[in-house]
């Protein structure tokens, strides 16, 4: 199992943070364009998911989209009620990635960005501490193994 890369967006779609571990191929466009594409896709898929839903879940529409899976990799998505969006790409055998996303939110973002008075919440994250903690949490996770299988 392995983790490829991570994106974090604020409620306005601004890329707050990007990190990668075993990313074997780049998209060939700038990070900025890539982030825009990613955010646009998430936005569309979310509205599609809630529009097409056969269930009456008006209040649950935000949690509606969790992941998509190709034959090679999977994209896992989590959105908080505050509109923060976390995306983790893994190989497609990884399980319980949602737990890892929650952990990143509660143990890394909340602890090292939210509680750090010198981090502005509406700007891309530039904290070394955040970066190091994110790396540690991802690498300790059962989802992560150093070599792609």
């Amino acid at each position: 199992m392995t983790v490829h890369n991570f994106y974090m967006f604020d409620r306005y779609g601004q890329l707050l943070f990007y990190a990668e571990w075993n990313r074997l191929r780049q998209s060939g466009i700038t990070r900025e364009e890539e982030a825009k594409l990613m955010y646009g896709m998430l936005f569309s898929i979310k509205s599609f998911v809630s529009r097409i839903s056969p269930l009456d879940n008006t209040s649950g529409s935000r949690e509606g989209f969790h992941c998509y899976r190709t034959s090679k990799y999977a994209l896992h998505y989590m959105e908080t009620p505050t509109g923060l969006k976390l995306v983790l790409n893994t190989d497609n055998v990884a399980v319980n990635v949602h737990e890892l996303l929650k952990q990143i939110y509660s143990q890394v973002y909340v602890e090292y960005v939210v509680k750090n008075p010198l981090c502005n919440l509406s700007e891309p994250i530039k904290s070394d501490l955040f970066e190091a903690q994110l790396d540690a949490v991802v690498k300790q996770s059962h989802v992560f193994t150093s070599k792609p299988t």
């Binding site: 955010y39 209040s59 649950g60 908080t80 009620p81 737990e99 509660s106 602890e111 939210v114 300790q140």
Partner: protein
């Protein structure tokens, strides 16, 4: 299966350190502004700044999703006071439209050692709380306003914070989509 990391930081601090730190902040504001109304405004603004951060901590701890209705919101705000200030205000006095309620505080760690001097009777000593609620709710797409209707520091039996729902805020739409 999933390896849970260290438990969420549920650490506590002595409430007196908190009370006195807040007290020194309020008295510093009074020194700097010499105008009670301006101090009330500043306290509210600081509360707002705290609220937009505190909400993330609240969500991370409770794992709660979006509110179903304003009753749900009221209960979550009540839970927030329990988590962050160790007090449980009572929810009461619902307005007829269901968009307004009161939080009744029997005690409040912010005011533990406080008596208002005569020249500060208009000071809304706890106005920071009104700001916290505004900031926290705004982050979950809700505009609310709140104000004190009763205040133990002014001789009332309880402190009553009134909370009113204004409107739902829309989610931001990425550029180029509609």
């Amino acid at each position: 299966m999933s390896r849970q990391g260290a438990r969420l930081d549920a650490k506590k601090v002595n409430s007196e350190l908190f009370t006195l730190t807040y007290g020194t902040l309020v008295s510093q504001l009074l020194k700097d502004y010499e105008n009670v109304d301006e101090v009330n405004k500043q306290l509210e603004r600081m509360g707002y700044n705290i609220g937009i951060r505190l909400i993330e901590d609240f969500l991370a701890r409770t794992g709660s999703g979006r509110c179903y209705d304003f009753k749900d919101t009221a209960e979550k705000i009540q839970a927030g006071f329990r988590i962050f200030l160790g007090v449980s205000p009572t929810i009461s006095n619902w307005g007829p439209g269901g968009d307004e309620f009161s939080l009744i505080f029997e005690s409040n760690p912010l005011t533990e050692f406080v008596e208002l001097p005569d020249h500060c009777l208009n000071l809304k000593y706890c106005n920071i709380l009104a700001g916290v609620l505004r900031g926290a709710c705004e982050m979950v797409q809700m505009e609310v306003t709140s104000w004190f209707v009763q205040d133990q520091l002014k001789g009332d039996n309880v402190t009553e914070l009134r909370v009113k729902f204004i409107k739902r805020l829309e989610d931001a739409i990425p550029a180029g989509e509609d």
